[in-house]
């Protein structure tokens, strides 16, 4: 969509010889319907030559308008005197168009790459791009990889899981999910990398080959598609689902507080406006229910790894209670082994321990539920970094993060394989 907008701007520039020096694009945040009406009035003033990229429709959605240099002062005075908040999205459209010309020609060349070997793993991708990539991987390696539709999101997007299997029926299985909190972009990006790594290493890496000869591996890369789409279009920091909460103007439920274990207890919020809102009831979120149904009907998962960022930690149950998990000793030792392996690559150091002592009390968490279902090797990762960049980790750290995390994940998978139960 962005490409279309800029390409259109470019076309206009080329064919009408129009230049945009000093023009700005303003993002206007309206707070009520009255302000929308004012903007619509502004739209009517033809002499201003305003070009609305996103027209004024609803107070909840921003209005984007390209303002020619000559009209800038008038428009800003109008907005400010009417107390309408705005920010300058593009300071100088001309320089943006120049940059975009370069980017379009660059992306045109990347569009030619229609296979998973030429996919750019070192940058962040959109939901559409990831879903296309998944189809590419399946078609390239259909003997090993298949795609399963496990449910739909609140906004009706499909939820997909990649299955890596060399055959058998309901073999003991390992689960990996990334992106349950949508703003944790390094996790989805790592999920893509790890899926590709898994597909590549079967037949080459001894451990992966042994595991896949007897076990299945499931990877859900975009566990919260609605939230993920929202982080690309509206709010990079969005964490929760995008479900509507009745009786509240606040949207979304924390999917990592929505599981049916200690649900609603301390360590989750009952306020829909909170980032840790647990939802109206356990499994209220289709994103969570889809996994619950899938895991229960499969019935043979042996390890469950849920990946988050940031903080650099490897966590095991419980989050909802201080009572130690019965297998705490084994889980603790394995966590040490896994984080030691992780640090061998780039020296990245991780803390490890149970959720409630290491990070905070949290109820209704994923791995508390999976552990109580009998999936002993239940772990949560918190990937890089420790707060310098936080959620907005530079793309050049995607591959190093994925590589080191893979070493830890492999350690857990290998242990699971060697210790059947």
């Amino acid at each position: 969509m962005k490409g279309v907008i800029f390409f259109s701007a470019l076309l206009v520039a080329v064919f009408s010889q129009k230049i945009f020096v000093g023009d700005q694009v303003l993002r206007i945040a309206t707070k009520d319907v009255e302000q929308i009406t004012l903007l619509k009035d502004l739209e009517e003033l033809e002499h201003l030559e305003l070009d609305f990229w996103k027209g004024p429709t609803h107070p909840d959605f921003p209005t984007d308008v390209h303002v020619p240099f000559a009209s800038l002062q008038a428009v800003k005075v109008f907005l400010e005197s009417n107390n309408i908040q705005y920010s300058i999205m593009i300071e100088d459209l001309q320089s943006m168009v120049e940059e975009e010309k370069i980017q379009i020609s660059r992306s045109r060349s990347t569009e030619q790459m229609r296979n998973t070997n030429s996919f750019d793993y070192a940058s962040y991708h959109t939901l559409d791009e990831i879903y296309s990539w998944m189809d590419m991987l399946v078609s390239e390696q259909s003997n090993l990889v298949s795609k399963i539709h496990i449910g739909s999101t609140f906004e009706n997007r499909p939820i997909y899981v990649l299955k890596f299997s060399t055959g058998g029926t309901k073999r003991p299985a390992i689960w990996i999910d990334t992106g349950i909190h949508s703003c944790e972009w390094v996790t989805q990006a790592s999920g893509i990398w790890m899926a590709k790594k898994l597909a590549t290493d079967y037949g080459k890496d001894a451990i992966i080959t042994s595991i896949l000869n007897e076990m299945d591996i499931f990877i859900e890369i975009v566990t919260n598609p609605d939230g993920f789409y929202f982080t690309h279009t509206q709010n990079r920091m969005w964490r929760k689902t995008r479900s509507i909460n009745s009786g509240s103007s606040c949207v979304g439920v924390d999917p990592n507080r929505n599981w049916d274990v200690g649900f609603g207890g301390a360590g989750a919020s009952s306020n829909p406006c909170s980032e840790t809102y647990h939802g109206s009831r356990a499994n209220s979120e289709s994103e969570v229910k889809s996994i619950v149904d899938f895991v229960k009907s499969h019935g043979n998962f042996k390890a469950f790894i849920s990946i988050h960022s940031y903080s650099q930690m490897l966590l095991y149950p419980y989050g909802y209670t201080k009572t130690p998990a019965p297998d705490q000793q084994e889980l603790h030792n394995l966590a040490k082994k896994a984080t030691d392996a992780l640090s061998t690559l780039y020296g990245t150091s991780y803390r490890y321990g149970n959720i409630i002592n290491t990070i905070y009390q949290a109820s209704g968490c994923t791995i508390d539920w999976t552990y109580n279902q009998g999936i002993k090797y239940s772990y949560t990762f918190e990937l890089r970094d420790t707060g310098r960049y936080g959620f907005i980790l530079p793309a050049n750290q995607i591959i190093p993060t994925a590589q080191e995390t893979w070493l830890a994940v492999k350690t857990i998978m290998e242990h699971t394989y060697n210790n059947p139960y």
């Binding site: 509206q234 990079r236 002592n357 990070i359 936080g390 959620f391 907005i392």
Partner: protein, 297 residues
């Protein structure tokens, strides 16, 4: 030398959590007043966890053995060390110098009846620009038991802090900014992809140092703050030899997972260091959150 003064000052508990290091008391009091005014609204954002308080109660020690050894991997030590990091950054940071906790070596805490809880942390920090590690830092952090948010009182000293030499970089930057024809400004640092234009990096650091003041002031045992994003930065006119900037920054609290917006004015020069001259919390929904696909490469 400025740093000697801070180390000396650092040996005394700060009274009421007010920073005592800067020359312009009026503007600080403005900052403090603004912070105090915001305390009410901020407490509704932070979840002071009753279960957590109860947990602390049950582990209160026999007064005969006041100090309790803490697990350095667990959150009480981590949160206290993070406060020390914020304190260290505000007092020693600059647009060329920004510290992050590297490793916690030892930690203990003691309950001080009627007062609060005092943590003793031994830790190392890593300076982000030079990647140098300063190995021996010790800090005492006192979290007072108060009804409203009050800044933790911190003493923090690091051996070898001097070895991080950024004075040349700071002076060069100062002169570079002073001689720019246009005031500097930026938005969305980093962008969605984590990119930061080279010329914006010092302003990102400066924002981080200024934000450290706010994060230090707003911390308690139930918070863990990091600066998530610089929404905007704009250079202001300054009458004196201080450079001045207006920021809107996003802070992330790991415990509540809330993202909060703060507006702040920051003054800096290489000899006087960083000073937050004004700050206030922006109500949720005022600013649009970091926009998604930034139209940048």
């Amino acid at each position: 030398m400025r740093w000697t003064l801070w180390i000396v000052l650092g040996l005394f508990p700060l009274v009421d959590g007010h920073p005592t290091l800067k020359t312009d008391q009026n503007s600080l009091e403005t900052a403090d007043a603004a912070l105090n005014h915001q305390n009410g609204s901020l407490n509704s954002v932070l979840h002071l966890d009753d279960m957590e308080k109860a947990a602390l109660e049950t582990t209160r020690d026999d007064p005969a053995f006041p100090m309790k050894e803490l697990n350095t991997s667990h959150y009480p030590a981590t949160r206290a060390a993070k406060v020390a990091q914020h304190y260290l950054n505000y007092h020693h940071g600059s647009p060329s110098k920004w510290f992050m906790v590297h490793a916690i070596k030892k930690a203990s805490s003691e309950d001080i009846p009627e007062v609060g809880k005092k943590y003793h942390i031994q830790f190392s920090v890593q300076e982000q620009a030079t990647k140098e590690i300063v190995g021996n830092c010790t800090a005492e952090i006192l979290f007072r038991q108060t009804e409203v948010q009050s800044a933790p009182e911190v003493n923090c000293t690091c051996d070898d802090l001097l070895k991080i030499k950024t004075s040349d970089a700071d002076h060069a930057l100062y002169h570079h900014i002073k001689h720019q024809p246009e005031p500097m400004a930026g938005m969305d640092i980093p962008d969605s992809q984590g990119n930061i234009p080279k010329e914006m990096e010092p302003l990102w650091y400066l924002g981080g140092i200024g934000a450290s003041f706010i994060m230090w002031q707003q911390s308690n045992e139930s918070t863990l703050y990091n600066m998530a994003h610089v929404h905007s930065v704009k250079q202001l006119n300054s009458e004196n030899d201080l450079l001045a900037f207006e920021y809107v920054v996003l802070l992330h609290d790991m415990v509540s997972q809330e993202i909060i917006h703060w507006h702040m004015q920051v003054a800096w020069n290489p000899t006087q260091g960083v000073k937050v001259t004004q700050c206030h919390l922006l109500p949720k929904g005022t600013m649009k959150q970091p926009s998604a696909e930034k139209h940048k490469i």
